[in-house]
């Protein structure tokens, strides 16, 4: 059954694209035609020590990808396929995988360990691979086996434990697995390689060890071994042990109290003296403790009382020692750390942790940090000045504004002067600190705004990594003027700010495009937060400038795919700016004509951007078109003939679901812009929307948007929606059933459920209102199901407020559109009376008003 596939696997990694594509195609063909034989062949390849490591590695990767995928729908499909394979074939594959663990080739057994874990995740919960654990444990007790088998086995055990729950196994099996892993860490018995593998396996198995952690004796033992391992001779093993401690901190926070003294000593020694990789994990331990305590504080509510998880205040208790330790790390900067974005060193980890500590304890951190800041900020050594600024910037979130504002106000002039420091690290960190100040505190007034703007607009000409942070500072400075009351203050500087940002975007000294996109994004925020009445002139002038820049991107020389990508990025930034300008100007009747006069040219540009990228629809251009449709209203009709093909492409883009989602939203914009003139395009759109709903490949987050869009279409075309009722309504009912089955303990799924419920109601509302005058009887067959669904949603007392609003509205729509036909339905149910009562007592005016309207509608039905 198995086939010789070595050559194809090697060809699939060939440099020659043609050879590669061909090999990939034949692999795919094999997979589609005979999956069992395909998987078996891959397993043979992986297990065969005589084969080249390249083909074995790829065989293993393909095997793994045949069992697991990130996307839930795809994963489900793969699992079903595996389950459907004949048992004898599966046994053979599993046998080969286990055999591979004994291979001397590291890559082979390493890949096999991962594949075994994937199979285990499917089969262990179904009790279909009972011999796995025994086989693995057996490997550990064989005396004559090579050390690499133990390494491979421990790694496999770690991966398997990560994939399954301890409840999938009998407790004695769980115990033997953990015993094997912990014994593997034993100094006396094993080589460093085995101990390292065992320590990493334990790290993966920590959640699996829940029962054992709940038992004090076993917990003491595990903690003792981990702490000992954290002092191993080998740095790598110490690092792995600290990684275990980091995991333990978040998994078993509430059990840590007895060990804290030991852990504090271990970690502070590591931070002070160990190698950087170990020290970073030691700092991460404290960051994790902060994460836990911040979460406990966020969810802390008086009602929870004793049932809530205990807050042990570890950070508060350790504060006076912890903070000085972290401040020390800030002085350990690297000379070139600002040049590389991905850098992570002691100083950064320490600052991160300091920020988390500030959020955990609030005001209490200030007396410990401020003396350090004052002492260091004027020292001649730049390390001191940078560390002082960084410390100050790190504690800006957490303490109260009452405590922080006086400090920041007093220090603002000095901070501004540091933007001219001779050292670029200091200027960089100062720019970052300023952006935090503007983001987190409200200290800008008409008195100090001018000097702030002057300094920022000077510094934006500094080195590109500094300029980028200055953009961030301007972004948050503008954001502070978001509400229309204060936005006037910004008006005098608007022109200079936009000019400065445009010049920054045009800079050519930066190797990547990050500065440019930061500059454009900052323009967006400045435009959004500007006072339209006072600055419409400037914004209107900006429009052709950006259009011109977008035009220039169309003329760029495209030599290689990299150029195409750069062009796409730049177009994304510019379309983003256009979208923001369009949305800003179309928010008032006075300024809307400024957009409309350019509408033809803008639309032509967007269509050209689409045409540049044949394979995909440009997301930002799509988003901007939605704004343009809103601005132009019915005039948008003339663009539809050319635009509709891109609309269709967007609706079919399953892979980039964001694009699909945005396109669905744009359909809604167009519906509202065109009203019933959208009718000629509806068949095509509805067909794709219905396909999207039926697809397993499309990310689920797009589906609520599609239901809302049904409502938009129905409202636009009114009775013409009739022909879609038979297709759309069953899907809405089906989605309602799905809502009914959502597990209320799954928070993430519940959130999705709320979106889905709201969108289904929006669909019903649109359809009911669209049919109201002429075709409401079409909805009669669906009324009872809808009302049941409404009842279901009403009975969920935890429901989100936006769901409540949509619910009460659709109930009114039902009564409004179907009139006396719903009298019996409403008479037979009582839930709505309480529900309306609940809504009428809400503090939300809008909700109260909707509820009043609905009450009136139902009242009218009942007296009819």
């Amino acid at each position: 059954m198995a086939m010789e596939i070595t050559q194809i696997l090697l060809s699939a990694q060939a440099l020659d694209a043609r050879v590669r594509t061909e090999a990939e195609a034949s692999l795919r063909q094999f997979q589609e035609q005979n999956l069992p034989a395909f998987l078996l062949s891959l397993s043979f390849e992986l297990a065969n020590n005589d084969k080249p490591i390249e083909s074995r590695r790829l065989a293993g990767i393909i095997l793994k990808n045949s069992l697991d995928a990130k996307d839930a729908a795809r994963k489900n499909l793969l699992v079903q396929q595996w389950v459907g394979i004949e048992i004898s074939v599966k046994s053979q594959i599993k046998e080969l995988l286990l055999r591979t663990l004994g291979s001397s080739a590291h890559e082979a057994w390493h890949t096999s360990a991962q594949v075994i874990a994937k199979v285990a995740s499917i089969e262990i919960p179904q009790k279909q691979w009972p011999e796995l654990i025994g086989a693995l444990l057996n490997n550990m007790t064989q005396r004559d086996q090579p050390a690499s088998l133990k390494q491979a086995t421990l790694e496999t055990l770690g991966y398997v434990c990560e994939e399954i729950s301890h409840q999938d196994l009998a407790q004695d099996e769980v115990n033997t697995v953990l015993t094997a892993v912990v014994q593997g860490m034993n100094l006396a018995e094993h080589s460093p390689e085995v101990r390292l593998a065992a320590t990493r396996a334990l790290c993966n198995a920590l959640a699996f060890a829940q029962t054992n952690f709940d038992n004090e004796m076993e917990r003491n033992y595990i903690m003792k071994v981990v702490c000992e391992t954290a002092m191993s001779k080998e740095a790598e093993i110490r690092q792995a042990a600290f990684e275990c401690l980091v995991s333990i901190a978040s998994l078993y926070y509430e059990l840590l109290e007895p060990y804290m003294q030991t852990l504090f000593e271990l970690t502070s020694n590591a931070v002070k003296g160990d190698e950087e990789a170990v020290a970073l994990q030691a700092i991460e331990f404290w960051s994790s403790i902060c994460d836990e305590e911040i979460e406990l504080q966020d969810y802390e509510s008086p009602e929870v009382g004793e049932s809530g998880a205990p807050h042990s205040c570890f950070i508060e208790k350790a504060l006076s020692v912890l903070v000085p330790m972290l401040l020390e790390t800030l002085l350990k900067q690297e000379e070139d750390q600002d040049q590389d974005d991905t850098v992570w060193n002691l100083s950064m980890a320490g600052g991160t942790c300091l920020g988390l500590v500030a959020r955990t304890v609030g005001d209490a951190i200030l007396p410990l940090v401020m003396p350090f800041v004052e002492e260091n900020i004027k020292k001649p050594d730049w390390h001191c000045r940078e560390a002082a600024t960084y410390a100050f910037g790190s504690v800006l979130e957490g303490p109260t504004a009452e405590k922080l504002s006086p400090l920041v106000n007093a220090g603002l002039d000095f901070l501004l002067s540091l933007m001219k420091d001779e050292n670029s690290h200091v200027r960089d960190t100062t720019a970052w600190t300023l952006s935090r100040v503007f983001e987190l505190l409200d200290i800008i007034s008409s008195e100090n705004l001018q000097k702030v703007v002057i300094v920022l607009l000077e510094s934006i000409r500094d080195a590109s990594h500094i300029a980028e942070k200055v953009c961030g500072a301007i972004y948050f400075l503008a954001q502070g003027f978001e509400d229309s009351e204060s936005s006037s203050l910004l008006s005098p500087y608007l022109m200079d700010m936009i000019t400065g940002l445009l010049n920054t975007a045009d800079r050519t000294d930066s190797s990547d495009s990050k500065l440019r996109s930061s500059a454009y994004e900052t323009i967006n925020e400045v435009v959004r937060c500007s006072n339209l009445a006072e600055s419409s002139q400037i914004i209107v002038q900006l429009l052709p400038v950006i259009m011109n820049k977008l035009q220039q991107t169309l003329e760029l020389q495209i030599m290689k795919s990299d150029d195409r990508e750069k062009q796409g990025d730049l177009q994304a930034s510019l379309c983003g700016v256009l979208q923001v300008i369009i949305q800003k100007l179309s928010s008032t009747d006075e300024t809307r004509p400024a957009v409309v006069q350019f509408a033809d040219q803008i639309m032509a540009l967007f269509l050209s951007v689409f045409a540049c990228h044949s394979s995909t629809v440009h997301e930002e251009a799509m988003l901007a078109i939605g704004a343009l449709a809103y601005a132009t209203g019915a005039e948008f009709l003339k663009y539809m003939p050319e635009f509709s093909k891109y609309l269709q492409m967007g609706l079919q883009n399953f892979e980039e679901y964001q694009v699909c989602s945005i396109t669905v939203g744009v359909v809604g914009d167009i519906c509202r812009a065109l009203d019933d003139k959208i009718l000629p395009f509806c068949d095509g759109i509805m067909e794709l929307l219905l396909k999207d709903l039926q697809s397993d490949m499309l990310h689920q987050s797009v589906k609520p948007a599609i239901f809302s869009c049904f409502g938009d279409i129905a409202l636009a075309i009114g009775e013409q929606f009739e022909k879609y009722v038979h297709h759309a309504l069953p899907m809405m009912q089906q989605a309602a059933e799905i809502c009914a089955q959502i597990d209320p303990s799954d928070e993430e799924l519940m959130e999705y459920g709320y979106q889905l419920k709201r969108s289904i109601f929006e669909a019903y509302s649109g359809i009911l209102q669209g049919f109201k005058d002429t075709k409401s009887e079409l909805m009669l067959p669906y009324a009872s199901h809808l009302l049941q669904f409404i009842e279901l949603v009403c009975n969920d007392k935890q429901r989100d407020e936006s769901v409540t609003k949509a619910t009460v509205a659709v109930m009114g729509d039902l009564a409004d559109a179907l009139g006396s036909n719903t009298k019996l339905l409403f008479r037979d149910c009582v839930f709505y009376i309480d529900f309306l009562g609940e809504c009428l007592q809400s503090d939300d005016e809008q909700l109260k008003e909707t509820a009043t309207w609905t009450q009136g509608m139902i009242g009218r039905v009942m007296v009819s």
Binding site: V343, M348, E521, Q579, Y630, D669, G711, L715
Partner: protein, 418 residues
């Protein structure tokens, strides 16, 4: 070394404006969707599109535009609001004219006055309705012509307020503009922030009016973005004390009669017997109709509409026939179908049989003032007639209230006890 996955490089807070753009777009779309659905929910949506400036923003009143055409142009009473939104000029005025609830004149005292009715003193002034939307408020008189266009603290009534809020949301108030203090007295609420109150009871509408209007700041003195003050009118239950308060109580405005509203009545446009108006010399300067010079004519004057067969009818639905013109006369005087004609009631007066009109002694005076949108209603003519001959007095209400109270208090089984 790279930071842990969940800790992004701390010192580099990349601005994520794209996500913000997506979110803001979604927000705009959600708001627009909400607005669109609100609009659909609201019966009077056409009011919105009609408040755009039209050539007639100066009230030049031309209802009887071209002879012979008016009937065909006149929108039917149950006009679909979507069609109405396309009306312009005279048609729009006609349509708007039908959007107010017009109280009948009280010609007899309704039952259960104290239980089922409200009473309040009507401010003297121009009846109008005020629509606030898209950053402006517009008031229109009964004949549909625009009285004022002004910034107001009403919801969506000025450019300055809740810019982010729903631009399409709008509100409609039934008001009387009181010249002396330049104040709009709100007597009813038809729509509030996009929600129709047409189908709500008067009890609820008054409650809503009372609780909502002041919240907006519309009752504050005028300011830059709020040109006219709005004010509430005290509404009483129509019992002894309520009636007394409305009739004799001090009011900040000049009174022009009393209005009676049935508590259960929905807002019904056009003439309705569920709202009634009554006046006497104590509570109104204008009890008896005056002519254009402000003098009380010797004889009662009425305006009637000329129908197809020469019949002269009131504005009621169905119309009440008061008399008939012969074809020759119509031709000679150049009169057309639908013309509003002015008549004096001669010495013969009005005679009634079985509570209905039997005969009216009409003398033709001429065409009515062109600003008139409607003929007189039956109740108005009868009320004016009664005022001149045997008026309904405040005491009649009081005794009606007392007797109904007496009835309420009577033991039900009084006869059996006897």
């Amino acid at each position: 070394m790279a930071p842990p996955d969940h800790r992004r490089p701390y010192k580099r807070p990349a601005i994520s404006d794209q996500q913000r753009r997506r979110e803001l777009s979604l927000l705009r779309q959600a708001q627009s969707r909400l607005d669109a659905q609100h609009r659909a929910r609201c019966l009077a949506s056409s009011v919105l599109s009609l408040e755009n400036p039209e050539p007639d923003s100066v009230p030049e009143l031309e209802l009887e535009s071209k002879p012979g055409e008016e009937r065909s142009e006149a929108p039917p009473k149950e006009f679909d609001v979507r069609q109405a939104s396309k009306l312009r000029g005279a048609e729009a005025r006609k349509w708007f004219a039908r959007q107010l609830m017009l109280p009948e004149w009280m010609i007899d005292v309704p039952d259960r006055l104290s239980q089922d009715w409200y009473v309040f003193a009507r401010p003297a002034g121009k009846r109008c309705f005020v629509v606030s939307s898209n950053g402006a408020a517009v008031s229109r008189l009964r004949n549909g012509s625009i009285l004022h266009r002004f910034p107001s603290a009403l919801p969506s009534g000025a450019r300055t307020r809740d810019v982010s809020g729903s631009a399409q949301s709008y509100s409609i108030l039934d008001c009387i503009f009181h010249e002396p203090d330049q104040t709009y007295y709100a007597i009813d609420m038809l729509c509030w922030r996009g929600y129709s109150l047409y189908d709500c009871t008067a009890e609820f509408r008054f409650f809503w009016l009372n609780s909502k209007l002041a919240e907006t700041g519309a009752c504050e003195p005028p300011s830059q973005y709020h040109r006219y003050r709005f004010s509430l009118v005290p509404v009483y239950n129509c019992d002894h004390s309520g009636l007394h308060a409305a009739y004799t109580g001090a009011a900040p405005y000049v009174k022009d009669g009393l209005l009676f509203y049935n508590k259960e009545a929905h807002y019904q446009t056009g003439n309705t017997p569920l709202a009634l108006v009554w006046k006497d010399e104590n509570c109104s300067q204008y009890v008896i109709d005056t002519d254009s010079q402000g003098n009380v004519p010797k004889q009662q004057q009425v305006v009637l509409e000329l129908q197809e067969d020469g019949k002269l009818t009131t504005s009621d639905d169905p119309p009440v026939v008061f008399g008939c013109l012969d074809g020759d006369f119509i031709q000679k005087s150049g009169l057309c179908l639908g013309n509003l004609l002015r008549f004096a009631i001669g010495d013969g007066g009005l005679s009634f049989v079985d509570g209905g009109l039997d005969k009216a002694d009409l003398c033709y005076l001429g065409k009515s003032n062109r600003a008139r949108a409607f003929a007189d209603s039956y109740s108005k003519i009868v009320f004016q007639h009664m005022v001149r001959h045997s008026p309904l007095k405040i005491d009649d209400f009081l005794s009606s209230i007392s007797s109904s109270v007496d009835q309420e208090n009577q033991p039900r089984d009084v006869e059996m006890a006897g």
